[in-house]
Amino acid sequence: MSVKLTLLVIVIEWFLRMKIRYNTLVLWLSALLLCSWWAFSQIEVRTDMSLFLPEGTAADQKLLLNEINQGEANRLLMIAIKQGDSAGRAQISQQFATQLRNSPFFERVENGTPTTLVIDPLLFKYRYLISTDDRPDNYSADMLNAALVQRLEELKSPFPTPFKDLLPADPLGTYQSMLGSWLAEHNINSEQGVWHSKDGEMALLLAQTKAGGMDLDQQQLVLSFIKTEFVRVSSGQPYELIVSGPGTFGVESRNIIHNESQSLSIIASILIALLLFSAYRFLPYLLIAALPLASALLAAAIVCQLFFGELHGITLAFGITLLGVTLDYPIHLFSHLRKEQSVKKSMLQIWNTMRLGVYTTCIAYLVLLTTDFSGLRQLGLFTLTGLLTAALTSRFILPQLFPVAFMPPKPRGISLLSRLLGQRRWPVLVLSTAAIISLASLLISYDTLWQDDIATLSPLPQALLKQDRQLRQQLLSAEPNQLMLIRGDDPESILQTSEALRERLKTDPEGQILNDIKLPSDYLPSEHKQRLRQRALPDSEQLSANLQQGLKGTPFRETAFKPFIKEIQESRRYSPLSYAQALETDLKPRLQSMIRQGPSDWFALIPLHTYGDSESIANYLNNASPEVRYLNMRSEISSLVGDFREQILQRIAFGSLLMLLLLWYGLGSLKAAFNTLIPIAAAILTTVGLLNLSGESLNLFHLISLMLVLGIGMDYSLFFRRREQQQGETLLTLHALSVCALSTAGVFAILASSSIPVLHAIGQTVAIGVAMSYLATYALSRRIS
């Protein structure tokens, strides 16, 4: 008790000795508290990843992006059960599948358990119009005879055939062959009644979630449900569970990113605290420096929520990273504080320079606001709001924290800096060497500078991806990357296109590569085709005559096939089976996964199982028919990202021009504006060159990081070029900028150590960029002045 009291007294004493104005601090803290209460209660952090894909401009791209989020393939989870013996696994697979089917999370769960043949009455009724074998001579005496001989052989089988009861109405075995042609999953290896891998080591299941593959919160729920159910079902037995699929990947990635960024940000915070403390040896600064940043984050989150109605988790994560730079504002103030003048006056003296830096940096983020990428627009607004808030609170509220007669602590390391200030040659030397080398490397390998394949950004270990490929092969499920797109005004026209394509694939030798794909018309012929087939059906007299002749030499009773003759006659009068009707049959899951209604028309997205050369497949399909198109999700997204990168580069060029104008206005001369920009340009160029030299391919995240570098560099350049107000101020500015650069570069170097490609990219770029900006602005601005 007394120990606690003593501790409390020490803390209170320490606070009181902080020599700051408590009323302002308390007011500020309460305002922050109030805002965070609102933010935590109102803001909904969205996590589904679709927001962070660029919006497609072309209709096909939009379909594709929708497919990525909602598509069948991305809602599919592959589940494997390992260890134990196959009988035990089969048992677990059965119980597990039942549990999953009974839960509200799945649309379907399959484990290969056969269901006894259930005859779909509607499909059986329409068999003579929709079955796949439609040879014109199907009903001739010869064909009938051949079919009957085959049926007789089937009857001789030592096992009861499930089709025996259908024989009187279907001696041709039409329904039988129709079902056979549909069953692709039939070929998945099975043991003990359930799907097993071919080596017999794993029982396999397929589960389709109701939630979209990119809806990570839902996927996370599904995943933890699967895991708890599995533990319950296997109850202590040594079985092992593997779940793979787009949903799992999303959740796993998010977890990896979450965990790693959390630990990294803790390390980074400690680093900053240590750095700030060693630079000033004044503890209250740690709290004071954090206040503008905290205000910035809160204001940014609130504005985003009000404006977009939501806040994305990625916006928040990146936003925090980008806004970390607002720590520089208080640092500028801390370094420029002097005994002789009031805090407010010191602030006023640096404000002009700081303001220009803030404005120009804002332009960089304004660029983001104009892009076709809703995630980045959010990020733009977030950082813009944050920057302005941090700048304004630093300018107007921060000085209020200090009492009128404030005795500022002396910035540490000034003597070291003054010695460095004498050295002017080495920064120039280092910078120019780096610049020359990197420029050369850029010129040599400009073509490979960019990497737009977002798959390379995946933080997942290779082993997981390999496991996914293996499961996919076992379960015969297509990689969701290669697709064929057929568009049409209605399902009927899509079916007709699909029929024409099938015809082409059958006859054209070049079409061989695609012969094994499943087209929608393989399940349901178009109504047009069904009408043609109706016309080819023989009339009752003809058929009876053919049958009589065909029966010769077989032991079948002539009267046995009356139902057959009757049903062929009825088939001639049916109106064709439409897409809508077919959705009420067993064909529903197959048809629905293929043909769907888009916003303006109908489309079919057909996964290409083939592992053939994608370029020749693309060529073939794109030339096959104007309605047919080949889509490669991966390259399609890459090109989207590429387009987007082009767009953002153009905007940046435009933004730079704006910055130049702003600087011209702010500094009062075009020459001064150029002189401010040139070191930054040199720094950025060198940064890009060094990245390139280190073997890094640049992606969008490097680009966004470079924008951050641009803003930071602008700040440095402006401060370095600032006209000295008082004696010795150069040294103070150098101190401020050195603390800023060290803390920023340090934090981002920590990020660069991350195993997550995105964090690594950002960390590396900003760390190098800040170092180069510091060097360049220091070296060049000294030179020029």
């Binding site: 290969g112 006894t116 499930p162 099975s190 009644g193 032991p555 079948f556 009773r557």
Partner: protein, 198 residues
């Protein structure tokens, strides 16, 4: 009320008593039981037989007849070879059914087809003396005596029961003479067996 209750308990007790007596009395009557036969078959090893199979189907004017040989290798492998000119051979082992036509081989996993698995148990588990499997798919009933017995199998599974009413296996001592399948629509498959001594 009270009377009725005690009456019920009396009947229950009597029933229980009878049940405990029942197997003993059967065993005393004759030692020719299903358990005994199955136990003997369990240790009979590999067996060969010639068969003639006749199918009487409603669809056909005349029955189909097939001949060939059957080989049973314990515990559950059965090979059914048709006599020439046919070159068809069925091999069933475990959950696998392999159909040979000449050199051509086609494998079917029976566990995808529960009624087939049940059906195959009707001869495989009888030949192998696997009473547990037999009981899991059928309700077996043995009648007659050592010199002439009939084992009736009624399918328990609804999938198989939809197709097959019952299976009758006839024999003398430990030899099976006739295997008869009666389908729900009245069709019949009758197989006569003649052992080949090796």
């Amino acid at each position: 009320m009270r009377l009725q209750k005690s009456n019920l308990i009396c009947r229950l007790l009597l029933g229980l008593f009878l049940i405990t007596l029942a197997p003993i009395s059967v065993a005393e009557e004759s030692d020719w039981s299903l358990e005994y036969m199955m136990k003997q078959w369990q240790s009979s090893g590999e067996r060969h037989a010639r068969f003639t199979e006749v199918r009487e189907l409603a669809l056909l004017d005349q029955p189909i007849e097939q001949r060939g040989t059957l080989v049973f290798q314990p515990p559950d492998r059965l090979i059914r070879t048709l006599a020439p000119p046919s070159d068809t051979r069925y091999e069933i082992e475990g959950n696998r059914l392999i159909l040979w036509q000449g050199e051509k081989q086609q494998t079917l996993l029976l566990d995808n087809l529960p009624e087939l698995l049940a059906f195959s148990a009707s001869f495989r588990s009888v030949l192998g003396g696997d009473i547990e499997t037999l009981n899991s798919y059928f309700t077996p009933k043995l009648s007659g005596d050592k010199k002439g017995w009939i084992l009736t199998l009624e399918p328990k599974q609804k999938e198989l029961a939809a197709k097959i009413t019952q299976i009758e296996i006839e024999g003398r001592e430990l030899e099976i003479d006739r295997y008869r399948v009666i389908e729900t629509n009245g069709d019949q498959i009758i197989t006569h067996l003649a052992p080949i001594q090796k």
